[in-house]
Each structure stands twice: as structure tokens, then as C-alpha cells.
């Protein structure tokens, strides 16, 4: 705080007003282009591709789809194909070739209700093993899909009969450091966080953070799981150290109340896993850095290892708008470049400076 110029600065590079509500943006890997996914006022879906050129975002392509598109991911595609997988309001999972976006290359009715969240792994060289897509939906189920298998998911995580179905707001892949191990983390509206182990097909861990879980993300998908950040409806976020799991205490965590409103989104910097940005309901962005403790685990009274959480430092915070920022994506190729959009129908390209100095 002492020397403000040494801190990372968040600079609004490009602002572009849109004529639709945008739910998600994603950078196209290996390019200066990003995709915006949203909802036209007339109730149809839209997918737009913009390219950053000469300080402007130029629209390259726009496709209208019958259903509003809620979320998308490039996580399960190869670098050559760069197909985007999207989930829409009707519960469909589609994979599109952005060169020919008229017809999906893969389509499945994944859920009965809206797909709230989607994540992919095994593509782009991130994560060993099969390319897989996970979707979380309002219907309470979390399903894992393999684009090579039509019609049915490869894994299905749904509440058993009799259990109340909770709205799944967020899903994330992690722990994909070899071709067998893989985990899916899902966050629910009641504050449940569940960690499913896809190798053993079991629930590995669950916890409740008392508030609806808006976003979860592992710091890296393709390493032995290290950290998990979960953001909540009431402006708090939790960072779990995922290295040491205690049989009763689970994972150690640190929580921070940062925003005065919902934290809608959390994204780790692709170039440095200890840095992440949270996007809040009041239109503000917070840039954080996680500091490890001196010892990441200790022995408890029974001599069992228990994790020790570190601390988080606020590096920078800015307010972008009065409306919530609902989506955020770091460019995987250019450090410090990110795109975000809010309910103010604006997409912004931001530059975060001095990230390599923190």
C-alpha cells in the first residue's frame, strides 16, 4: 500500500456496449479473440466473436441461436480445433466449431433445466487423459461428458431420490495431473461444496459455506490439487488448501470478506496460480494473492496431518460499474489481459499490469 505505483494496476483498455445481456466471455486460445455468450432481449441466444485490434474490439462473427446461452468453455478441445462447448437455458450441451458455428459438432440434451456452469479439461494440453466436459444445472445434477460419446454422460452426480435437489451454480475440474486422477468440484445454492473423485467414482469431500456458492475454481486443473477458491453470495470467499485432507476436518481454509455484495466470479491467473481475481456484485474487481504458510501441514493432537491455510493479500481493487460483473476470463496467452462483462450490457477488456512483480 505504501507505493501505489508498485502495485498492479487494472486498466480499462476497451469498453464495448452490447445490445444483449452477456453471461459469459471466453478467450479463444492462441488468439487475440474472445467469445461473448448471451441472451438477446427477444429471448434467443447469441454467440459473438470479437478480436482485439488497435485498441478496439472488432466484431468478427455473430450467430444467433434459439436458446439463450449461459456458459461456455474451451477446456476440452484441442488447440487445432478450438471448439467451444456451451450450455444453454434449456439444458442443452452443444459443441461448436467457431469456423462453422451454424451446426453444433456435438449436441446433447444434458439437463432438464438451465445449465448454470460448464467446465472442461483434457484439452489445450491442460490435464492429462480424456477430454471431458462437466455441466452443472438447476436440476441439481452434475454430469461429466466425453465429446466422443454421444447422448449419455460418462459420469452423473445427482442427488438420490428423497434428497432435496439443490440448484448447482458452479462446477470446476481439478486434480487432472495424470490420466486417471480427476476431480469435479460443484457448488450449490445452499452453500454446499462437493468434491467428486472421478477416478474412484466417489464423493471425496463436502462442506458447507453457509451461503450460496457462486463460483468455485481450482488454481490449476492439471496439477495435484493444490488450492480451491469458492465464492459466496454474501461477499465472502474461501480458499481451501487441497493438499492435506483430514478425515474429519477436511481441508484447511481461509476466508475473506471482500465485496459488500455477491462475488460472482473467481478466476486464477493462468500464468501464476497464486494470483486470482474476484468479480463482485457491485461492479468491482479484486485482485488477490495467496501466501502460503511456512508449513502447509502440521500434526494435530492425534498425530494426524492437518492442513494449514495461508493468507490472502489484496493486491488491487477497482470498481468498473454499478452493475454486477458476472463473467471474467484471463487470456491464457497474454499475461494480464482479461475480459469481463456485467449486467450493464458492456464487455470490457482489461489490462492488469505488473503481475510479474508481485
Amino acid at each position: 500500500m505504501s507505493s501505489p505505483l508498485a502495485k498492479p494496476q487494472i486498466i480499462a483498455h476497451i469498453q464495448k456496449g452490447l445490445n444483449y445481456t452477456v453471461f459469459d466471455n471466453k478467450w479463444i486460445p492462441c488468439s487475440a479473440k474472445f467469445v461473448c455468450l448471451g441472451n438477446f432481449p427477444r429471448g434467443t441466444g447469441v454467440m459473438q466473436i470479437y478480436e482485439v485490434q488497435h485498441g478496439e474490439a472488432q466484431l468478427i462473427k455473430e450467430v444467433e441461436k434459439p436458446k439463450p446461452i449461459k456458459c461456455g468453455t474451451f477446456g476440452a478441445t484441442s488447440l487445432q480445433q478450438r471448439h467451444i462447448a456451451t450450455g444453454d437455458f434449456e439444458g442443452n450441451l452443444n459443441i461448436w466449431n467457431l469456423e462453422m458455428p451454424e451446426v453444433p459438432v456435438y449436441a446433447v440434451k444434458a439437463h432438464k433445466e438451465i445449465v448454470n456452469s460448464i467446465d472442461g479439461v483434457g484439452g489445450l494440453g491442460i490435464g492429462d487423459g480424456a477430454p471431458e466436459i462437466v455441466t452443472g444445472s438447476r436440476d441439481g445434477t452434475v454430469k461429466v461428458w466425453d465429446p466422443r460419446q454421444k447422448d449419455s454422460p460418462v459420469a452423473n452426480m445427482e442427488p438420490t431420490e428423497g434428497e432435496t435437489k439443490r440448484d448447482c451454480w458452479t462446477v470446476a475440474f481439478g486434480h487432472a495431473f495424470n490420466d486417471q486422477d480427476r476431480c469435479v468440484c460443484a457448488g450449490y445454492d445452499n452453500g454446499d461444496i462437493k468434491l467428486f473423485d472421478l477416478r474412484n467414482m466417489s464423493l471425496r469431500w463436502e462442506t458447507n459455506i453457509k451461503n450460496g456458492v457462486c463460483a468455485v475454481e481450482f488454481d490449476r486443473k492439471d496439477i495435484n490439487m493444490n488450492k480451491l477458491v469458492a465464492t459466496s453470495l454474501e461477499g465472502k470467499f474461501h480458499v481451501f488448501d487441497m493438499r492435506t485432507q483430514h478425515h474429519t476436518k477436511g481441508f484447511a481454509s481461509v476466508s475473506e470478506k471482500a465485496h459488500k455484495s455477491t462475488i460472482w466470479q473467481v478466476k486464477h491467473l493462468p500464468q501464476n496460480r497464486e494470483i486470482f481475481m474476484t468479480a463482485g456484485g457491485a461492479g468491482n474487481l479484486h485482485l488477490w494473492k495467496y501466501e502460503y504458510p511456512a508449513q502447509r501441514s502440521k500434526k494435530d493432537s492425534d498425530g494426524v496431518d492437518v492442513g494449514v491455510a495461508g493468507s490472502v493479500n489484496l493486491l488491487q481493487n477497482v470498481t468498473l460499474s454499478t452493475q454486477p460483473i458476472a463473467s471474467l476470463d484471463w487470456s491464457p496467452d497474454k499475461q494480464g489481459l482479461c475480459v469481463c462483462s456485467g449486467f450493464d450490457q458492456t464487455v470490457r477488456v482489461l489490462i492488469v499490469t505488473k503481475l510479474n512483480m508481485v
Binding site: 434428497e163 463436502e206 492435506t244 496460480r273 477497482v318
Partner: protein
């Protein structure tokens, strides 16, 4: 509640902040962050009025106490380009622009990837089992059962491929037992593969992937998880090796203290990018930790040359140099201790043994020295010796011998001979290894013995008082001298030299009369000269010192060394002898005398003593001076043994080297050269039986049967039952046409080992020859001798007997028919040519397929060979088989170097060729026409 106690309890009270606390003095005193935050909140709310200065004061005070306080977080507006300086923003924009252009470039090849590409390289990972449901809540007993029942679909085949039985069993076990599971620690990562199977992807993607893995490594590195970092760097390197990843891995390895690995990585980087500063710095660190301070310092200097501001390098260099100094002092006191003491020492009253050692060092630094004090040294030296011996003397000899005689001659024995070759090679390696070990051992021995000497002799050199008085020298001169001694000790001979020179100069100016001191100065300077290889000046100084102090030991010894290095062996010999007269226990002098004696004998013959200058008689006083502590008989004996062992070892090394070379030459068929080597070997060790037999083989090959026989006789004198010697003598006798002796030798061989089939065959043959010769003697002598082609059948039992004595049996014994390779063909052709035997050459050609001729000749073709072949074909082959001649000619001109050789043909050879073509053209054949011959002739003539 007093105000005081309230002050320190306020954090507990959740009451409203009293107005009196909204005060500069109170805020300044308050150390409670929480309470300050509350005060700040009240102030900011403006309920008690608006005090902007107080707010800022409170904020700054809070920041002092807790810079990360949440109350200090303010909502900042997003920065815009305007909020940055123009330069900064310009840089960002330029950076972004570059990136945009780059991505456009990298994106293009990605787009151009053929679409079917993806079909080819289908992801090998199987699809997970279909629609497996995952239990939704923490598996409790009954729920688990229900979940099991809910497996909706049978698992597909691919699922079974990755079905981990043990895991499943474990799971079942766990369900049954349900004990408290121990904590799962993810921090161990044995499961991460260190290599990535890279599918057939473009370089572009590889780079991206490698970069990604490297990033992960960096992150793990930053989290101090170095093992994981190493894993990810390794993964990155397995995709594309990059300097950055290697460098980083080196650093991680350094943190893990895996010095060897770190070193490997640094070397790798420096191979890819010589002069990489980081790698150099890291290598220096590794060297530092491996206690190789000298190397570390070198690297660091390189770094500082590149980056003079490099703080880390400067710091490390500092510590390294300190270490180096310490270590240097230590090492000098170990390895060169003698020199220090020698330089230091002013009087001659020190124990003579150390003296002897001291003097031994400068001559032969790697020579282990004898004496009680270095008892460890000879032992280690011996170890080296003992390991080497078997190679030089024992089984090594015979092995290599029959190996080389096999080589190439007997194809059908390929398997076994190969085997031998391997064993031979490994033997060589072992020998190398041992010799290396031997030498290092001896070096170590040196050090340890030096170290011991130090202990024995007292650490005079360790604590040097530069102003210590030296004899009758004035203070400034003694200081110079001591400085010189110190420099000498540190190996800075040139500097020491300067100091001594100054001291000598000062001495002559000061006009003191103290010949002892001047003598020492000269002697010390001589030592410097000797170190610097300046033997002339060394001799001068020594002579001067000896003028001052006749028969002082050290100048004499140094002069002797200098003479020796100038190869003035006679004078050196005299000096050494004088030294020995003064002190019989100077080992170095003994060694040198032995060495020089040998050299002089070689040089001057047996009369060498007569050419020596007079050896001065050492007055008894000087001798007695030295005899104060006569070495015990034991020590002397040990020393003598040591010397003997040493000489033996050295001879051994040279001997084995020579022998090896000889064997190599035999393998290559260069018998003349091999002969020379073996002869040298025998000079070193006249009692080596194997060498005699080997040399006999060479003689046999060279058809010098008399010498061969002599060698065999010599071998048999040493080993009366040596089969090989007998066999070779038999062959020699056969060559000498002494069939009787030959058969008796062969019988001897067979008596010893009835399995030697060659000998048997040879015997049969010789018996026939013997009978014939006897018959010839009785009847007409002109009967042509029968030729016996020898084809030996490979046999494992006969490894002891060489089998290649087939091609050298006199004029009329033809060559190996059916040559199978260039070597055999060449041998046969040469044999025929040497004897001018065109008939055997023709036979050889007849048995050779024309197509193979060029390859057999390979690049050995020369004018004489061509001429000879032409002659042979003309004289013998043309009549019998003109078409073969045509065929041969048709292929001969395709041989290597043919055109060159053709140009260099001499007249006779040309004539032979023309004749051949004339004759060939005259022959009527169905296989070729006159025109063909004419065409062919055009190629030749």
C-alpha cells in the same frame, strides 16, 4: 471503570465509540487495530461531524499499525490510459500490439492443420464408463449399498482396461472395515509422470505445452515445492528442451541439494547456450557446494564479466574466495606441505625422511612416496597396482592374444570371437578404470601422506609470521624472504621469485656476510625457477648456492632435477649421486638415479660409466651432518620395496600399453608394426612369455620363420609347456621345411591338448609332407609339392591356438580359396602378388564372383595390383574361362579409385593390360562379342 482500564479493554466493548476518542491524541496513543477501525468507521460515517484531517490522520496511523487492514480498502475507480504516464501506457500498448501480431502468426498454422489430422491422432485415453453415477453424499453404510445397486449400465470394455483391481479391492475393504482413514496427503506426488507422451503435434503446440508445464513448475517452485517443480520442469523438457526450463530445474535441484542433477542441467544449458549467465551462476553454486571452489570462482568470474552488477555472483564469489583461501591453505599444507616447510626452513636439522619426501614431490607429483609417515599412501598405491596387474601380466595376455589372432580370419567363429572381443573391451575398460583409480589413489595418497608429513613435521607453515627473523638477515630482507615463502606456498611462484630476487639484491647491497642465508635465498629462488620450468636459471642459482655452501642438499637436488629436465643426464646423475652420498635416504634421488642409469645405458651402452664426469667426494662432515637420524632398516626396506613396486608399476603401464598397441596392429594385419611394439615390450620385460608367442606369430606372418622359431624357443624356455609356443614353432619349422621338428612340436601340442584340431590337421599334413620330402630325397627331387588348402573348422575348445597361419606357407601354397570378404581377398591377393604367383592369383580370381570383385578390392586398388591381376588373367584364366575374364574386367573398372589408378599405371602394366585385351578380343565366345571387348577396352586403355 477508570479511563485507564477502559483504554485497554476497549476492544472487548462493543459499545459506541465515545466522542472523546475521536481525538488526535487518543488516536495516536491507541494501538488497537480493531478499535481504530471502528473509530475510522465512525469518523467516515460523519455522524459526529466531518473531520477530513482527522480521518486521514486516523488512516495513516492505522496503516502504520496494520497496512493490510480492511478499513483502509477503498473503492478505486478503474484506471484508464490517462491515469498512467504516457511512456508506460505507450509501452503497454506496444506490448499488446506485438502480442496481437504474434498470435496472429501463431494462429495461422493452427488453422491450417488438416482437419483429418484429428482423426489420425485420436486421443488414446479411453472414454470413462458410461453414465456412472457418483454417490452424492458422503458414503454412509446404507447409502453406499443403494449406490452400488444403482450402477445403471454394465461397464463397457474400455472401462475394464483401466479397472484397477487393487483399488477396487481396497474400496471393498474400506467399505467393510470403515475405520478412520488417515489424513490424505496430496503433497506427495509420486503419480505424476515425469515425461509427457507428446502426440504428433506441431512444434507450435509443443512449445505451448512445454511452456505451460514450465509455468506449472515455476508455480510449484514459488510455493517452495521443489520436488514438484522438478517434475514439471522435467515434463516440460520432455516435450521441448528449453534453456529456461533447464535453468529453472537446475535451480530447483539446487534447493533440493541434488547437486549432480543440477550440475547436469547446468552443463546442458551451457551446451545449448555457452555463456548463459544464470546457468553459470548456478553451476558455480553447485561447484561451491561440491567443494570445488576453484571451479566455482572461475564460473563466477565469467558471470561478473558479463554482468558486473550481479549481486548474487559477487556475494558468492566473496564467500568462495574466502573458502578457497582457507581451503587453499589447507590444501597447500596438505599437498605441497613439503614445499612450505622446505622454503620456511633455515637450518638443516629436520628429520631426513620428510626431507626426502619433500624433494620427491616436485619431481613426480603423482608418485607415492615411501616412509613411515605415509603408510597410508603406499597401501593405496598398491591397490591401484594390484588391480592393474592381472591385465598386464596374467590372463589379460593370453586373452588379447588369441583374440587378435581370431580376428577376421575365421568367419565361422564369429560368435565366439565376438564374445572374446567383448570381454577384451570390457577388460580394457576395467584396466582403464583401475589405472585411473590407481592414479587418483596415488594422488590422494600424496595428499594424505603430505598431510601426515604435516602432522609429523609440525605446522610450521600454517602460522606465518612475516616478520619472523631469518638467520642473520636484516628485518626487511627477512620479511621479503618470508613473503616469498608464503607466495611460494600459495603456488604464486613468479611472485615468490620476485621477492627472493629483491631479497638477494638487498642482501648484496646491505653487505652482510652471511653465506648461509644467501645460500638459502638462492636455493629458494632456484625452487621457484624449477617450478616455473626455467631450468637454466635454476641451475645457475643452485650453483651459486653451492659455491656459498658446498654440499648443501637442497640446491644439489634441485640442480639435479633441473639437469634432468634439460636431459643433461650425466651431470644430473653426478648431482644425484652426490646427494646420495650426503644423505642415502633421499628417495627421489634413488629413483632418479635408477631412471637415469637406465637412460644412460640406452644412450651410451654398457660403457656409460666411463663417460660420466667425476662424482665429487663428499667430506665426512657433510655426510655426518645428514646421518644424525639414520633411517631404521625397516624403513629402508619399505622404501626399497616401494621404489621397486613403483618402477614395476610404471613399467607395467608402459608394457601393457605397448602390448595393447601390438595387439591392435596384429588385428589390423600390420605385423611389422606389431613386431616393433612387441620387441619394445620385451625390452621392458624380457620374461613375458605371451609377448614371445605373439611376436612369433608376427614373424610367422612375415614369413621370418627363423626368428619365429627363436621366439618360440624363448617362450618355451620360460614356459616349457606353452601350447601356443609349440604350435607356432611347429609352423615355423614347417616354414623352414624342417618337417621332422614340426611334427614333433605338433605332437607335443596334441599331447598336451588332444582337442586342438588344427594341430591334428597340421600334423596329418606335415606327415604327408615329411614322407614326400623323404621320398623326394630318395627319388627325383622335382616333384611339385601338393598344395593343401587349409580350412579350419571353428571350434570352441581350441581357443588357445591361433588359426590364421594359412596364407604364408611358401611360394607354392596357394591362397585361401573362396574369399568371403575384402580382408581375406586382400590377404590372398597380397600373398600371391608378393610371391609373384600369377597362378594362385588366377585361382583366386576364378573362385571370386565377378560382381564381388570391386567390393573385395575396396579402396586397396593400386597399379601393381591391376597389372598383376591382368597378368594372372592373361596367363592362366583366359584359356580356361574367357567369359569369366570378361566378367571380371567388366566389373573391375567399377572399383573404387579405378580411374585414378588407371592414370598412374606404368608402362609394363599398361602393356599387360593391352595384351590381355588383345587376347580377349581374339577369343571367340558366346557370352560377349568383339564389340563388347572393344567397349570395355576403351574404359581401360
Amino acid at each position: 471503570m477508570s479511563a485507564h482500564s477502559f483504554l485497554y479493554n476497549q476492544s472487548q466493548t462493543k459499545e459506541k465509540v465515545p466522542v472523546e476518542h475521536l481525538d488526535y491524541v487518543y488516536i495516536k496513543k491507541c494501538k488497537d487495530v480493531k478499535y481504530l477501525e471502528r473509530i475510522l468507521k465512525v469518523l467516515r460515517s460523519g455522524k459526529e461531524g466531518i473531520f477530513p484531517d482527522l480521518i486521514t490522520f486516523c488512516e495513516s496511523h492505522l496503516e502504520k499499525l496494520d497496512p493490510g487492514s480492511r478499513a483502509l480498502r477503498k473503492e478505486n475507480p478503474v484506471a484508464t490510459p490517462a491515469s498512467l504516464s504516457k511512456d508506460e501506457w505507450g509501452q503497454i500498448v506496444a506490448d499488446l500490439k506485438i502480442w496481437q501480431e504474434e498470435t496472429r502468426k501463431t494462429e495461422r498454422p493452427l488453422k491450417q492443420q488438416p482437419i483429418f489430422d484429428s482423426l489420425v491422432k485420436e486421443d488414446p485415453s479411453p472414454i470413462r464408463g458410461s453414465n456412472c453415477s457418483v454417490p452424492f453424499s458422503q458414503a454412509a453404510g446404507p447409502k453406499e449399498k443403494r449406490n452400488c445397486a444403482r450402477h445403471p449400465l454394465p461397464r463397457d470394455y474400455q472401462y475394464w482396461d483401466k479397472y484397477d483391481v487393487e483399488k477396487e479391492c481396497q474400496r471393498i475393504d474400506e467399505n467393510v472395515v470403515k475405520t478412520d482413514p488417515a489424513a490424505m496427503i496430496n503433497s506427495q506426488h509420486p503419480k505424476i509422470r515425469t515425461a509427457v507422451d507428446v502426440p504428433l503435434i506441431s512444434q507450435q503446440e509443443k512449445l505451448l505445452l512445454a511452456d505451460h508445464e514450465k509455468d506449472k513448475g515455476n508455480e510449484a517452485f514459488r510455493a517452495n515445492d521443489y520436488e514438484e517443480a522438478v517434475v514439471y520442469y522435467s515434463r516440460s523438457l520432455s516435450i521441448v528442451p528449453t534453456v529456461a526450463a533447464l535453468n529453472n530445474r537446475a535451480q530447483a535441484e539446487i534447493y533440493l541439494k541434488h547437486w549432480q542433477n543440477a550440475m547436469r542441467d547446468c552443463q546442458e544449458v551451457l551446451k545449448l547456450e555457452p555463456g548463459n549467465v544464470k546457468a553459470l551462476l548456478r553451476r558455480a553454486t553447485v561447484y561451491y557446494h561440491m567443494d570445488k571452489f576453484q571451479l566455482a570462482a572461475e564460473d563466477l568470474r565469467l558471470v561478473l564479466r558479463e554482468e558486473p552488477q550481479n549481486a548474487a555472483a559477487t556475494k558468492l564469489l566473496c564467500t568462495t574466495e574466502k573458502k578457497l583461501e582457507e581451503c587453499g591453505a589447507e590444501q597447500h599444507s596438505k599437498g605441497k606441505k613439503i614445499l612450505i616447510q622446505e622454503v620456511e626452513e633455515d637450518d638443516n636439522s629436520r628429520p631426513t625422511e620428510t626431507e626426502a619426501q619433500q624433494n620427491a614431490y616436485p619431481v613426480e607429483p603423482s608418485q607415492p612416496v615411501g616412509g613411515e609417515e605415509s603408510s597410508a599412501a603406499p597401501e593405496r598405491g598398491d591397490m591401484g597396482n594390484a588391480q592393474k596387474k592381472p591385465h598386464g601380466r596374467g590372463d589379460g595376455g593370453p586373452h588379447s592374444e588369441f583374440n587378435n589372432s581370431h580376428h577376421g580370419h575365421w568367419r565361422n567363429r564369429g560368435g565366439s570371437s565376438d564374445k572374446y572381443k567383448v570381454s577384451q573391451e570390457s577388460k580394457e575398460k576395467v584396466a582403464n578404470g583401475t589405472s585411473k583409480r590407481g592414479s587418483t589413489a596415488s594422488v590422494k595418497a600424496d595428499q594424505s601422506s603430505g598431510g601426515k608429513a604435516t602432522q609429523a613435521g609440525g605446522n610450521v607453515g600454517e602460522t606465518v609470521n612475516l616478520d619472523a627473523p631469518c638467520g642473520a638477515l636484516p628485518p626487511h630482507l627477512s620479511r621479503l624472504k618470508n613473503e616469498g615463502n608464503l607466495l611460494f606456498k600459495n603456488g604464486q611462484f613468479a611472485d615468490a621469485l620476485e621477492k627472493y630476487s629483491q631479497a638477494i639484491q638487498g642482501y648484496s647491497e646491505s653487505g652482510i656476510d652471511s653465506p648461509e642465508d644467501l645460500c638459502i635465498l638462492h636455493s629458494n629462488r632456484a625452487a621457484c625457477y624449477l617450478k616455473d620450468g626455467n631450468s637454466q636459471d635454476c641451475i645457475q642459482d643452485c650453483t651459486r648456492a653451492l659455491e656459498l655452501q658446498p654440499f648443501s642438499l637442497k640446491p644439489l637436488l634441485r640442480r639435479a632435477m633441473a639437469y634432468e629436465s634439460l636431459e643433461r643426464y650425466r651431470t644430473a646423475y653426478v648431482d644425484y649421486k652426490t646427494v646420495l652420498q650426503i644423505d642415502i635416504s633421499v628417495q627421489a634421488a634413488h629413483d632418479s638415479v635408477n631412471r637415469i642409469t637406465r637412460l644412460l645405458i640406452e644412450q651410451d651402452g654398457t660403457e656409460w660409466r666411463e663417460k660420466l664426469p667425476d662424482i665429487p667426494l663428499v667430506p665426512l662432515s657433510a655426510q655426518q651432518h645428514r646421518r644424525e637420524e639414520p633411517p631404521s632398516a625397516e624403513v629402508l626396506q619399505a622404501r626399497a620395496e616401494k621404489a621397486a613396486r613403483d618402477a614395476e608399476r610404471k613399467a607395467e603401464i608402459r608394457f601393457s600399453a605397448l602390448k595393447q598397441e601390438g595387439n591392435e596392429f596384429v588385428k589390423k594385419g600390420q605385423y611389422q608394426d606389431a613386431l616393433g611394439k612387441y620387441t619394445e615390450c620385451l625390452k621392458l620385460k624380457p620374461e613375458e612369455c605371451a609377448i614371445y608367442t605373439n611376436r612369433a606369430l608376427c614373424y610367422l606372418k612375415l614369413e621370418r620363420f627363423t626368428e619365429a622359431k627363436q621366439d618360440c624357443d624363448a617362450a618355451l624356455k620360460m614356459e616349457p609347456t606353452n601350447k601356443k609356443a609349440f604350435y607356432r614353432r611347429a609352423l615355423a619349422n614347417k616354414g623352414l621345411k624342417d618337417y621332422l621338428a614340426c611334427s614333433s612340436d605338433l605332437q607335443e601340442v596334441l599331447q598336451q591338448d588332444p582337442n586342438v584340431q588344427e594341430a591334428e590337421r597340421e600334423l596329418e599334413e606335415v606327415t604327408v609332407l615329411l614322407r614326400q620330402s623323404l621320398a623326394n630325397a630318395n627319388t627325383s627331387p622335382a616333384k611339385p609339392r601338393r598344395t593343401v588348402p587349409i580350412t579350419e573348422v571353428g571350434d570352441e575348445d581350441t581357443t588357445d591356438v591361433p588359426k590364421s597361419e594359412n596364407s604364408c606357407r611358401g611360394d607354392d601354397i596357394p591362397t585361401n580359396l573362396q574369399p568371403t570378404d575384402a580382408y581375406e581377398f586382400g590377404q590372398a591377393l597380397n600373398a600371391a602378388r608378393c610371391s609373384g604367383n600369377t597362378a594362385s592369383c588366377a585361382e583366386l580370381l576364378a573362385s571370386t564372383t565377378p560382381e564381388m570383385l570391386p567390393s573385395f578390392l575396396s579402396n586397396q586398388l593400386d597399379g601393381h595390383t591391376i597389372g598383376f591381376i591382368m597378368q594372372a588373367m592373361d596367363a592362366h584364366l583366359l584359356e580356361k574361362n574367357p567369359s569369366l575374364v570378361y566378367q571380371h574386367l567388366n566389373h573391375l573398372h567399377t572399383a573404387d579409385r579405378f580411374s585414378v589408378v588407371l592414370m598412374l599405371l606404368d608402362k609394363d602394366e599398361r602393356r599387360h593390360m593391352t595384351q590381355l585385351f588383345e587376347h580377349l578380343a581374339a577369343v571367340e565366345s558366346s557370352e560377349f562379342t568383339k564389340n563388347d571387348v572393344q567397349n570395355l577396352a576403351n574404359k581401360y586403355i
